[in-house]
């Protein structure tokens, strides 16, 4: 479903992604972990071209994301993206946040979009907040709305860029709960997260990154039980304390 072939990215002189070769299968849940600055967020942001790459190729659903003739807007509408900072539109109600893209891109009429939005809000437990405005909601609620907003376009893939990192600790659980639900329903997901409990429980595959490279991949059992690289061993030791 998502394929990286020999991807390289630089910020000026800084080599941010090094020779990334990786593959995400349909229905697979990949958790990307690693120390700060290892390139996790950069990596996930290249999947829908929020960051340009200098070398290599990324395909989503067989389409070349960086192809000269690829319709990037169309492609992005089939990739859900959840941000660390939620990035809800503060001038629009929760309902309008969810229906904006389906209506603008003419994927639904007003009635259909509203029905779908309410359905999604129910699923994330916020059916009663349809008429609220984003800043009336708690962080956890905002992030759940953001997930529902991404789902409103019915994307086959969802990308999560540290979705719980700017939440108060007591709100992390509710967001992870929604993500677990999605994973269980068979959604293809790539999550950058520091929530190792979530990774262990939900991930099919862990990608461990350091200094711009994916240096280890494996199932959660392999990664947490028998990490191969010294760097991963050190990382796991550090987060256990």
């Amino acid at each position: 479903m998502i394929r990286f072939s020999q991807v390289n990215k630089w910020y000026g002189d800084y080599h941010a992604l090094k020779d990334i070769n990786a593959h995400v299968k349909a229905g697979e849940v990949v958790v990307v972990c690693g120390p700060s600055g290892s390139g996790k967020s950069t990596l996930i942001r290249t999947i829908n071209r929020l960051e340009p790459i200098e070398q290599g190729k990324i395909e989503v659903n067989g389409q070349d994301v960086y192809g000269k003739h690829s319709k990037i807007d169309e492609l992005r509408s089939h990739i859900g993206f959840v941000f660390q900072q939620f990035n809800l539109f503060p001038h629009l109600s929760v309902m309008e946040n969810l229906t904006l893209a389906p209506l603008q891109l003419k994927r639904a009429n007003k009635a259909q979009a509203r029905v779908r939005a309410l359905e999604l809000l129910e699923r994330v437990g916020l059916g009663h907040k349809a008429d609220a405005y984003p800043l009336q909601l708690s962080g956890g609620q905002q992030q759940r709305v953001a997930i529902a907003r991404a789902l409103a376009m019915n994307p086959p893939v969802m990308l999560f860029d540290e979705p719980t990192s700017s939440l108060d600790p007591e709100m992390v659980g509710e967001v992870l709960q929604v993500m677990k639900l999605l994973a269980k329903e068979g959604m293809t997901m790539v999550c950058v997260t520091h929530e190792m409990g979530f990774a262990r429980e939900v991930a099919d595959t862990i990608w461990f990154m350091d200094a711009g490279s994916i240096i280890e991949t494996g199932t959660p059992d392999e990664f947490f039980g028998r990490p191969k690289s010294p760097r991963a061993q050190k990382f796991l030791n550090e987060i256990r304390h």
Binding site: L50, R76, F83, Q85, L88, F89, H91, L100, Q104, A150
Partner: protein, 236 residues
């Protein structure tokens, strides 16, 4: 002062109309309203050019803004007054000249205010729009501009008030607006300039006070709808 106002109310309000062009306060209001209505979209377009990643939009928009900001308005008015008729080959009414000059001038200033509003929004707003599959213009129209314009209301108000006051410069090219009417009255009375021009000052002041109140009301209404939100500033 009261009696000057009473004797000349009609002249101050509508000028010599119906025996001449509409003048006085009505002309001032008309000039300001038309100029604002045209300068606002002009300002948005220029601002979009200023933040555009494409040089073909960025360069001309920047050139316009730099040139206009570097020249005094009065010079602009003279320029429009003397050269526009030469260029288009027929005489142009003073009112039209004034509107052209004001719209050019105010568009450039509004553009910089709107540009600041756009660039002050967290980058995530733009990214969130694009990530949903909206194109650049859809993102601008539905996500960025509504927030940027709302946040910039106070600055835009200052610019609007400036525009109302600047219509008085139309006096120099003989447009019969409020200042012109006041000057006519002064020429007739000869001995009471203090009162006449105090009256003129008061009129402008009240007009702009009204404009301020109107914008404050709008601001409060929108703010209440969004429950007193200010845009969350990105921390990363």
């Amino acid at each position: 002062m009261w009696e000057i106002l009473k004797d000349n109310a009609l002249l101050l309000l509508i000028g010599q109309y119906p025996y001449g062009p509409v003048g006085g306060l009505a002309a001032t209001l008309g000039l300001a309203a038309v100029s604002l209505l045209l300068a606002f979209p002009g300002g948005i377009l220029l601002a979009l050019g200023r933040v555009s990643p494409y040089r073909i939009f960025y360069l001309p928009a920047s050139a316009v803004v730099y040139v206009v900001r570097g020249l005094p308005l009065l010079m602009f008015i003279f320029w429009a007054y003397f050269f526009v008729p030469l260029i288009i080959g027929r005489p142009v009414a003073g009112t039209t000249t004034m509107v052209v000059a004001l719209v050019c001038y105010e568009s450039a200033y509004l553009a910089e205010i709107i540009r600041a509003g756009i660039q002050a929004l967290p980058k995530g707003q733009q990214e969130a729009g694009r990530a949903l599959g909206l194109n650049y213009m859809q993102t601008m129209r539905k996500i960025i501009l509504p927030q940027a314009l709302f946040n910039m209301l106070p600055s835009m108000l200052s610019q609007f008030i400036s525009t109302v006051k600047e219509t008085s410069l139309a006096y120099v090219i003989g447009v019969q607006e409020l200042t012109y009417a006041a000057n006519q009255i002064n020429s007739v009375l000869l001995t009471r300039p203090l009162e006449v021009f105090t009256l003129l000052a008061l009129t402008y002041f009240v007009l702009n006070l009204g404009l301020t109140a109107l914008v404050a009301l709008t601001e409060r209404a929108i703010g209440r709808k969004r429950s007193g939100q200010a845009v969350r500033v990105a921390t990363t």
